[in-house]
């Protein structure tokens, strides 16, 4: 796919570019697309021919010398064949289109997902998960329905309109004049109404969304509402929103109620006109005023055909504005999808990036400064050194920049200035994957995926043996719990899995960390919402994980902090104090005052 560089501030959407790019997907499936086009044309041609034969049959019925049966039968037979073939073809077409669109959609979803995994962590920090999900599901779905439905619809419509016009032209040229009047009226009217009604429908969905949101929000607080006896007050507020939503609904429906009957009116009006002019022409044709072959001549069958074609002809024209709208929304959906595909991936490793082998574990952060945005610096000129096997405890208030240090160590972000060295090699000169694999990381928010316990642990090192997995679970002191589960290691961890508590999930991630067995460790000590006993278990597991590794710990526990080789006290992005526990207490600064406050 071509790289799109025109992400300029131009607000106007590049419809042409998007269309070409979407077209590219369609063309890549040409072996399905070409038959689809052919089948569309054939199927429509066949169904357009139906009324011709019924008209001919009718004329044969009305023939001067009584019913001309052979002609009637042959025409009826033709009708049946045409319609049957048309139905068959249109089903085959539907199947082809489903395959076509599903292939494209599958490919697009896959591209988006694979793209996601190459994006820098920053993308996920700045884009809510809900948005990402809506691109990969809702937006791609919108494109899907346009591809599988509207594309055929457009081809069909154009063909039907043109085909009907040609046939009508052949039947009676003067009567076409009726449509010179009704078609523009119909198009203008639908366009005008849709423009007027669409914002009303948008308002309706918005109000509905708000109402649903409010209901969800309040139900989540049902117990508090009960405890405070506020049911009536909240119901009253809900009713107000309910009323708003229903008013918006009514407004939209009220206005939309005009559209369908009016279109019907225009169509019926055309038919009335066909009846009048067709009737008059037929009358003069019958009494011989218009000779057969004259432009004004029309047979009864001709009138019948004309009515049928005019109905066929009207359908697509009424749909015109809807389809246009569908295409618009498909384009904006495609634009959002393409925007993800065009995001900058994590930069490639430098040309001279080395592999990292036999890591000792000396880490040096050397005068590093960093900010997520150029305006706001989070870390200012930080330096710290950890020799192999040493522990660095990072402490400080929330928002001081503790997590940022970890982001830089893992190269989720790169420093603006300064260097981080591993075994004296600057981290930018190391292959990213190698560098990251040199660390084991245990974060506060435990991340487990939908799968078995075993799969979640072995995630730490895919080629590990079953014994190694069990050993890791043992080291994390979670083995006996796992074995007590109904399916042991094969128990599926699902979102609604009530069987595993938060603390136990934490222990499973620690087991995963044990298995990955990297020389360096990054640890974010969890504190919240685990009961005290599990907490003790987690502490023990973490302590044994730390043994023999270079550790960076965002520390909350006093014992970790006290035992650390270096304590880094971070406040407002700068290291304000640095040293061992005893040194810092002796210093009598920020750390010592905080330390003492908890005993007061």
């Amino acid at each position: 796919m071509t790289k799109n560089n025109n992400t300029s501030s131009a607000k106007k959407r590049d419809n042409k570019g998007i269309m070409l790019r979407l077209g590219g997907y369609v063309v890549s499936q040409w072996h399905l697309f070409v038959p689809a086009v052919i089948f569309t044309l054939l199927s429509n041609q066949l169904s357009l021919m139906g009324p011709r034969y019924s008209g001919a049959a009718l004329d044969a019925i009305e023939a001067a010398g009584g019913v001309d049966f052979p002609t009637v039968w042959s025409n009826v037979a033709r009708m049946i064949i045409c319609y049957a073939a048309s139905a068959l073809l249109s089903y085959v077409l539907a199947v082809i289109m489903i395959h076509l669109s599903q292939r494209i959609i599958y490919k697009m979803r896959r591209q988006v997902f694979e793209k996601l995994n190459t994006l820098p962590v920053g993308y996920f920090d700045t884009h809510p998960t809900g948005d990402i999900i809506s691109h990969i599901s809702y937006d791609i779905d919108t494109i899907n329905s346009t591809l599988s439905h509207d594309l055929v619809q457009v081809m069909t419509s154009v063909y039907t309109v043109v085909g009907s016009l040609i046939f009508m032209w052949q039947i009676s040229k003067p009567m076409i004049l009726i449509f010179v009047f009704t078609v523009p009226v119909s198009i203008l009217f639908t366009r005008y109404r849709s423009k007027k009604v669409r914002p009303l429908f948008r308002a309706r969905s918005k109000k509905y969304g708000e109402l649903n949101g409010y209901a969800e929000e309040m139900l989540s607080g049902a117990r508090s509402i009960e405890a405070y006896g506020r049911q009536d007050v909240i119901s009253e507020r809900f009713s107000r929103r309910n009323e708003d939503a229903m008013d918006a609904y009514y407004k939209a429906e009220y206005n939309a109620a005009l559209l369908f009957p009016s279109i019907n009116l225009i169509n019926n009006f055309s038919i009335a006109m066909v009846a009048i002019f067709g009737g008059i022409l037929y009358m003069y044709s019958q009494n011989g005023t218009f000779a057969a072959g004259s432009m004004l001549f029309i047979s009864l069958g001709g009138v019948a055909q004309f009515v049928q074609y005019s109905r066929k002809f009207a359908g697509p024209i009424n749909e015109f504005s809807n389809i246009l709208h569908e295409f618009q929304s498909a384009f904006s959906a495609a634009e959002r999808v393409f925007r993800i595909l065009d995001e900058e991936s994590e930069p490639r490793d430098a040309e001279d990036a080395a592999e990292l082998k036999n890591v000792k574990g000396d880490v040096e952060i050397d005068s590093v400064s960093f900010g997520y945005t150029p305006e706001k610096q989070i870390l200012k000129n930080i330096s710290v050194k950890a020799s192999a096997g040493q522990t660095v405890a990072i402490v400080g208030p929330t928002g001081a920049g503790k997590t940022t240090v970890i982001n830089l160590l893992m190269r989720f972000y790169d420093p603006d200035t300064g260097v981080i060295r591993i075994d004296l090699v600057p981290s930018l000169k190391i292959k990213r994957a190698d560098l990251r694999l040199a660390y084991t990381m245990v974060l506060q928010d435990t991340w487990l995926f939908h799968g078995t316990v075993y799969e979640n642990i072995v995630y730490g090192r895919e080629n590990a043996t079953e014994d190694e997995v069990k050993a890791a679970a043992r080291a994390a002191k979670i083995d006996s719990f796992i074995e007590s589960l109904p399916d042991g290691y094969n128990t599926v961890l699902s979102d609604d899995g009530v069987n595993v508590s938060k603390g136990q999930k934490q222990l499973i991630t620690i087991a995963r960390a044990f298995l990955s067995d990297a020389p360096m460790l990054i640890l974010d000590e969890a504190t919240s919402n685990v009961d005290s006993r599990t907490e003790i278990q987690i502490q023990e597991a973490m302590d044994s994980l730390m043994r023999g590794r270079t550790c960076f710990v965002i520390a909350h526990r006093l014992s970790t902090i006290k035992n650390a080789d270096t304590i880094l006290v971070v406040k407002d992005g700068t290291v304000i104090e640095q040293g061992s526990h005893d040194e810092l207490i002796r210093l009598g600064g920020f750390y010592s005052s905080l330390y003492n406050s908890q005993f007061s």
Binding site: Y83, G221, G301
Partner: protein
Amino acid sequence: MRKILSYLLPYKKRMAIGFVIKVSGTMAELFLPFILTHILENVIVTEDVGKIVLYGGLMVLCAVAACVFNIVANRMAAGVTTRFSKSMRAELFQRTLYLSSADTDRFTIPSLESRITTDTYNVHNFIGMMQRMGVRAPILLIGGISITLVMDSALALVMIATLPLIFITVYSISRKGVPLYTGVQRSVDDMVRVVREDAQGIRVIKALSKNEYENRRYDRVNRALAGQERKAGVIMGVVNPVMTLLMNLGIAAVVAVAAIRVAKGLSSPATVIAFMQYFTLISMAMMSLSRMFVMYTKCAASAGRIAEVLCTPSTYTVTECEKTDPSDSYISFDNVCFSYFGKKRNLDSVSFSVRKGGSLGIIGATGSGKSTLIKLLLRFYEPDSGTITLDGRRLDSYSREELSCRIGVALQNDFIYADTVEENIRFGRELSKEAVISAAKLAQAHDFITAAEGGYDRLLSSKGTNVSGGQRQRILIARAVAAKPDILILDDSSSALDYKTDANLRAAIAEGMQDTTLVTVAQRVSSVKGCDLIIVLDKGKVIGSGSHTQLMESCPEYREISDSQMGGAFLD
């Protein structure tokens, strides 16, 4: 369904008028092909152009009438539907809030949510459609059939023969589609889940270089989804071609039979033209009727789910009870046992008592029954055995209002909603601004509230995501104390506060609310240390009770917890 339809009763007059208008409109439409045939068959022979124009004009008139009547009827229908759902949904919501906790657990919150949103929406759509198409379709059908029967009964029968086929096709395939689309939806959920997991675990994935693994994991669900969608599409794709085919075959049959009948002088060619048009109208009507049947099954299921909530009887009863002397115990539990599902005992023979103005601390591991105890005290659930008394009266003699007036409570992970800080503290009660502010001061929240832009008028987001955990807890505590309750319950509601703020809070409560009986549930020993009575819960049983010093000596579990917490949430 009957229960739900009863909400339509107030509008029966309007609906009747709408019905009449709709019928008139549809009838007008039905006359069009009739007049057309009349022109071709009878008027043209008179060779009177004026007459042709006259009858043509009549057609236009019918078309206009059909249009106007349909618009008016549709608008009236929208009005009725709107009012219907308004009242139904409002009542459903209110009933939902009044459900007992046991019933709420049984229904589950997500299910209740979807009843209020999706299910009412389904019913709404059906009621709307019923008024619009439910009238039009049968009339087009019956009217069309009657007119054609009058015009030429033999031809009409040919046509009618195809109708059951159309109905069966559309109905059976659409029915088949429902489970297929449920399958698709499940696959979509799987796919979304993997994407969500991937986005949330991106750091771990990158740390372990698991791109390939994740791509494979995604590919599995993506493939499954594409397969499901394809299957559903291939089956549903049958409907349109078959429908169109049946309709067209019907026309062919009409033409063929007409030929025979015209030859016998039983019918006229112009009738065939009318038939073709009636046939289109009738088949369309048939199609929408079949669709309505499918929608009906969906609507009936939704209506059933709504009615289930509306018909759940209130289990909240108030018994008579003599007031006994409350002298030394204000809140007391006497041998209280309780179980959520009747299997495991969640509370097992719990007994204790607290004096008025005293303080009770409850500590224990997750799942030990701390929050259950609080829920019983709030009468969210009734104990299986044993008695709870409050101020000398059995708890079940208190009405909802009485109880909620006496108790102020801040629950664990409690409820903050999208509104101002002030309103979140007030929580819909009649409290003066001064009361709100003094509550905030007591809860140590005043300073951070006024420091932020907007102060008390600052808008909080849903679930309070735009304030920190500690700030959230203080707002909740302010809410709990604002009405100066007799009993203040803090269920793990100061866990995110730093030690200093927590201590200040406790001092402020002790000073400002001397007559209030305080119940504190906590994980941290420091939060309950100062209580008159502390009970230690383990698996629903009281394994220790007494003051801090007593427990440090007598209860090894308590000591263990206390020791492990030295250092606590340091520096956070």
